[in-house]
């Protein structure tokens, strides 16, 4: 076998994987979204070609409101992850090489416990009689501390906590590769540490920032478990709307239409952004 055909074979594997586990299910979801709800059949869908489900998403303001609210929550949480994750990644990248594996291990460590249990643990921390309030009362800092659980703050906290490793790891990967001699050069040329950071480190770590933000932002938009457990009733998110369509109304076609719109509205801008990035990288080279 020539090296070219073996290379093709290697590339074919991920493509086949994508086709079977992404494109095919996506086609099925699209087919359902174009059908109509038929609760008396199994599965509850009458196939066809109807844009009614998509039209409904724009006539009822619920869907747009849920979408915008999800975007806002995801954006705030992503920013939180970035502000917290960047110094962490920076510190790990600047630690002695012998210590780095240990620090990285600590970042990944929470994954060894079930995600659900970790989110539940936050309920124990943030509830009315939770550990945080107990501490505040015990220490005399506050007699009537409010309850964070059930507010949007709790959702942000939960998302930042759960997704932080996805921000730290790609940031670490870029920061670790950063050539330290560039910073020395900047310093030799009279740049103060802050100026050197802003003009050298930050721009060079941009790919890591983008990758980390996407890894956090995309799943956070569709997040269902964290807002359900930590959020209040008024926290409107698209994941919950989708759940209601699928399970409460058992309207698979409308649920599928919501899913398709979610995907298109997320993937579209991101693909464009990626292309811009690739172009500007080419230009830089």
């Amino acid at each position: 076998m020539s090296s070219k055909t073996s290379l093709r074979a290697v590339i074919a594997v991920p493509y086949a994987w994508l086709a079977v586990f992404f494109l095919l299910p996506f086609a099925l979801v699209l087919a359902i979204a174009l059908g109509t709800n038929d609760p008396d059949s199994v599965p509850p869908v009458a196939l066809g070609f109807s844009l009614e489900n998509f039209a409904r998403l724009f006539t009822d303001k619920l869907y747009v409101a849920a979408w915008l609210s999800s975007l806002r929550i995801a954006a705030v949480s992503t920013l939180g992850c970035l502000l917290l994750g960047y110094p962490m990644a920076y510190a790990i990248a600047r630690a002695t090489p012998a210590r780095r594996p240990l620090l990285l291990m600590l970042v990944v460590l929470p994954f060894w416990t079930s995600f659900l249990i970790r989110v539940y643990a936050w309920i124990g921390l943030l509830s009315e009689n939770g550990m945080l309030n107990q501490f505040l009362r015990w220490s005399g800092l506050s007699d009537h501390p409010g309850t964070i659980l059930g507010t949007e703050w709790a959702v942000h906290l939960g998302i930042i906590y759960a997704y932080l490793p996805f921000m730290v790891l790609p940031l670490y990967a870029t920061l670790e590769k950063l050539d330290v001699s560039l910073l020395e050069a900047a310093s030799d040329l009279g740049a103060k540490p802050i100026a050197a950071f802003l003009t050298v480190t930050l721009p060079l770590s941009l790919p890591g920032i983008v990758a980390g933000c996407l890894l956090v932002f995309i799943p956070a938009v569709g997040e269902f478990v964290i807002p359900d457990l930590l959020g209040g009733t008024r926290t409107l998110m698209i994941g919950k709307v989708l759940w209601d369509e699928f399970f409460t109304n058992s309207d698979w076609p409308l649920a599928s239409a919501v899913a398709i719109c979610l995907l298109v509205l997320l993937v579209g801008p991101i693909a464009l952004f990626q292309r811009q990035q690739a172009k500007s990288l080419e230009r830089a080279e």
């Binding site: 095919l24 299910p25 099925l28 359902i32 709800n37 038929d38 609760p39 008396d40 059949s41 199994v42 599965p43 509850p44 869908v45 009458a46 196939l47 009822d60 303001k61 619920l62 409101a65 849920a66 309920i123 509830s127 009315e128 009689n129 939770g130 309850t147 059930g150 359900d228 457990l229 209040g232 009733t233 008024r234 926290t235 409107l236 709307v241 209601d244 399970f247 409460t248 109304n249 058992s250 309207d251």
Partner: protein, 359 residues
């Protein structure tokens, strides 16, 4: 219409078919394990007993096609009703069930609202939807609180007194809107938009005093003292009561059936269409209808069962407990609701979302 490719792709792991076995899909901890073992020993039938913890999982499995199960135990409303409409079950041949006459006539009549003439299902466990509260905290804030009335939840002047110690309500349009209708002395089963609008107004008026609408969180929250009042399922609140009593703080949690009338929830055993082991499915149903089995399972779960012959076999602490087995007067006010068509279901869900989120 059917399209099998979807069914194949969406269907999850399916239990093995074969002779001499029965595939039972049930809630966890819902049948006495000792009795279950005996059934296997006496009949030689191998019981493949798998469990789930949410109706949604069962619903999705049944709706995506051939599930391979012989017996499933969905909650009557809104799941079992909808599954009947989707023709997912086969009618029961009652002549094949020797123990059928053990069933309680009143329970069967309530279930009949969902399943006309009890064609498809037999009642397994049931309970009510009512008021759970922390007795100490409620008394501290209101001496003669109407703890056995829906006013506790739906009267703004009453419920607002408990905001500071925390109030939770089920996140379920099919459970809460009928109760709000009942509170207004309207037909809880009404699907009229003007009636539902009135019910929505009731819930909307108390919303500022509700910490959260959620269908399970109140168990831990009541037991742990994070809330002092909940509108929820009897079984869940009794579970919170037990947990609270076992904890060092010894919180006293009580459950009351609202005197205006309580909605009854019920879990129903049924045979899905295409069940691979029909004969054994009937034998298993007959086993579930055995008073001994029903009584042992009620003792395990703390729920009432739909088996009249099982009541005398229960400990007095159970059959005499009016939060588990309410008295005849409370029972005469029990109600259940019909499912409604797809448009009505959508309207109700939408109304509920609007109440909760203001959208």
């Amino acid at each position: 219409m059917r399209f099998s490719l979807l069914a194949v792709l969406v269907s999850f792991a399916t239990p093995a078919f074969g002779q001499g076995q029965v595939n039972v899909y049930n809630w966890s901890d819902y049948i006495d394990p000792v009795q279950l073992k005996d059934f296997g020993k006496q009949t030689g039938i191998k019981v493949n007993y798998t469990t789930y913890d949410s109706n949604e999982i069962l619903d999705a499995k049944l709706k995506s096609g051939q599930s391979g199960y012989d017996i499933v135990v969905p909650t009557a409303s809104p799941f079992f009703v909808r599954q009947i409409a989707a023709k997912l079950y086969q009618p029961l041949d009652k002549l094949r069930l020797r123990n059928y006459q053990n069933l309680d006539a009143d329970t069967m009549a309530l279930l009949g609202k969902y399943d006309a003439d009890n064609r498809y299902g037999i009642p397994w466990m049931w309970g009510t939807i009512g008021i759970g509260y922390n007795a100490t905290e409620i008394r501290k804030r209101m001496n003669n609180a109407p703890v056995d009335s829906l006013r506790m939840i739906f009267d703004p002047a009453t419920v607002s007194r408990f905001t500071d110690c925390g109030v939770m309500i089920l996140d379920s349009a099919t459970d809460v809107l009928p109760a709000a209708l009942k509170y207004l002395y309207l037909d809880p089963d009404s699907k009229k938009p003007e009636d539902l609008a009135k019910a929505a107004k009731v819930v909307d008026a108390v919303r500022p005093y509700i910490r959260k609408f959620h269908s399970s969180e109140y168990i831990n929250a009541l037991a742990g003292g994070d809330i002092c009042l909940a509108f929820g399922y009897s079984g869940d609140i009794l579970q919170a009561k037990d947990r609270a009593a076992a904890a060092p703080e010894k919180r006293v949690i009580n459950y009351n059936v609202p005197n205006e009338g309580a909605m009854v929830w019920m879990d129903v055993a049924a045979i899905p269409k295409g069940a691979p082991n029909i004969d054994n499915a009937y034998r298993f149903l007959d086993f579930m209808l055995d008073p001994k089995v029903a009584a042992a399972s009620s003792t395990l779960t703390n729920y009432a069962n739909g088996n009249a012959a099982a009541t005398p076999l229960l400990a007095k602490s159970m059959s005499g407990n009016k939060s588990i087995y309410p008295n005849a007067d409370a029972r005469s006010h029990f109600y259940t609701i019909t499912a409604g068509n797809a448009a009505e279901v959508r309207e109700r869900t939408r109304l509920w979302t609007a109440i909760k989120t203001g959208q």
